[in-house]
Symmetry: C2
Subunit: 294 residues, 2 copies
């Protein structure tokens, strides 16, 4: 429980994540104003004590701290456009996915209207909002972060300011998030292969969890290799993956593996570039685009 009057907050965008954010603020005793294009989505929050503003402008005017949780930066700008004049002097915090360029463009627009701006990301699922270990990170105006850190921490105990640049959360979001879809598709493919043998996907979960633990333990090692550019002390070499890439696809898996072909190509290109005996992290060198001509 806060010992001072809790900061009034506004949450715009009530998808599953936006609802979770608003619920956390309501539960923590913050006067909470919400707005959503489809007002019905606000009903459960209103029942818990939130106020549904009739317009985006009224929603912005209700609080010194305005969080948006829409799908893209463009959606965010579209929703805020009618409230642009009300942004002056307020703190605007976006929590959506999107590119660094999108974050910078919205930052320019919002600060142009006098808002102080932070762009952040929730690194977890809606049900984890509010937990002590849940990570949210933000880039942008440090004074906003410092002023509202206790309020932002309501959304997750692991709340981090990445730096003053407004696109840092988007940068890390896309960098860290780049593992998600590929890892999941790998798991789904494995699940389909196991099921094709009449076994349950659940039977591989324990092994897959351990596999992720092992991958997790390797990340600091790989990061060190990538930062130093020294790939020679290879626990898992490119050639090890090359053997797998060059193996004949197993006819009896009953699962599509075409999506793996470009990954195997990266492995082959790394080997061809002389990284065969180097750590698999040397694939980073192959993933860098050649510098544009100056």
């Amino acid at each position: 429980m806060p010992t001072h009057d809790p900061t009034p907050v506004t949450v715009i965008g009530l998808g599953s994540m936006g609802r979770a954010l608003a619920e956390a603020f309501v539960a923590a005793g913050h006067p909470t104003t919400v707005w959503n294009r489809t007002p019905a989505k606000a009903a459960p929050l209103v029942a818990q004590g939130a106020v549904h503003a009739p317009t985006p402008r009224a929603a912005v005017e209700a609080s010194p701290l305005v969080l948006t949780c829409l799908t893209t930066f463009q959606d965010t700008r579209s929703a805020l456009e009618p409230a642009a004049e009300a942004l002056a002097g307020r703190a605007l915090v976006t929590l959506n996915s999107g590119s660094p360029a999108g974050a910078r463009a919205l930052a320019a627009w919002a600060t142009g209207h006098g808002a102080r701006f932070l762009a952040g990301a929730v690194k977890n699922v809606p049900s984890a909002v509010g937990a002590p270990d849940t990570l949210l990170y933000y880039g942008g105006d440090r004074t906003v972060f410092d002023a509202y850190a206790p309020t932002l921490r309501v959304l997750g105990g692991d709340t981090v300011h990445l730096g003053d640049e407004t696109d840092l959360a988007a940068l890390y979001e896309s960098a860290v998030g780049a593992m998600l879809l590929p890892a999941l598709v790998g798991f789904f493919q494995g699940a389909a292969a196991v099921q094709a043998r009449g076994l349950e996907a659940a039977s591989m979960v324990r092994y897959a969890e351990k596999w992720l633990d092992m991958i997790k333990a390797l990340l600091p090692v790989f990061a060190r290799e990538i930062d130093s550019g020294d790939y020679t002390d290879a626990a898992s070499s490119v050639n090890l993956f090359l053997a797998d890439a060059d193996a004949d696809p197993d006819e009896d898996t009953a699962v599509e593996t075409a999506w793996l072909a470009p990954l195997h190509d990266l492995v082959r290109r790394a080997a061809a570039a002389g990284h065969g005996e180097h750590s698999i992290s040397a694939l980073t060198e192959v993933l860098r685009k050649p510098r544009q001509r100056a």
Copy 2:
């Protein structure tokens, strides 16, 4: 320390994993015979007390339990071919990657020569061999597993018999392993993107570790959805990933993203098949190959 005379073991194939296996047996007091095509690789093991056999046949004849750790099932067969007549009555345990079909073929060959056969996999890196939590799983002759479980457990405390079918380890190996390269390439791409901004790859490790924890926590949920075929209670929907798939690639990342295109295609196909509001785990349905005509 074993209270009975430790079982003599032979390890054929002294790559980094094979060396780790042999070292663990030597350290646990097992009379350990090794063989490698390049004998120099055996020198450190011999210094620790292992015996380097002059031929594969001599290596096989030295122990009732013979482990191979070569790259493929074909390599294993090639190495064992000159020792085929010595296999009768011995337990042969393979620890290599390869397809279920490859495991079945080697099993047929080995049992045809009178060996009792287990095909297994080490689900970790060489440096983890021997640790209490290290996972190894095996498929095949249960009597071999039961007879030698204490010896096999020297290699890792989490030692599992998957079932009597000789290709089960290969099946789970490819199913569980399907996450590895995609997840790593995702991490490497993120590292390259962060570096292109002048930041260290190390700066994203903490976030990436948390991200993997989150993915890990989702696996049992996804497995339940996949096993039940009920994808309607979606914490992360296909449409959420579709927005990302359809976003313009960020021009300024300086990183190749072409390898993601087939993954985004899978997302689009799932949405087109009516899974838009379903859990992302519905991608499993898209990954199944259509049944061949009967």
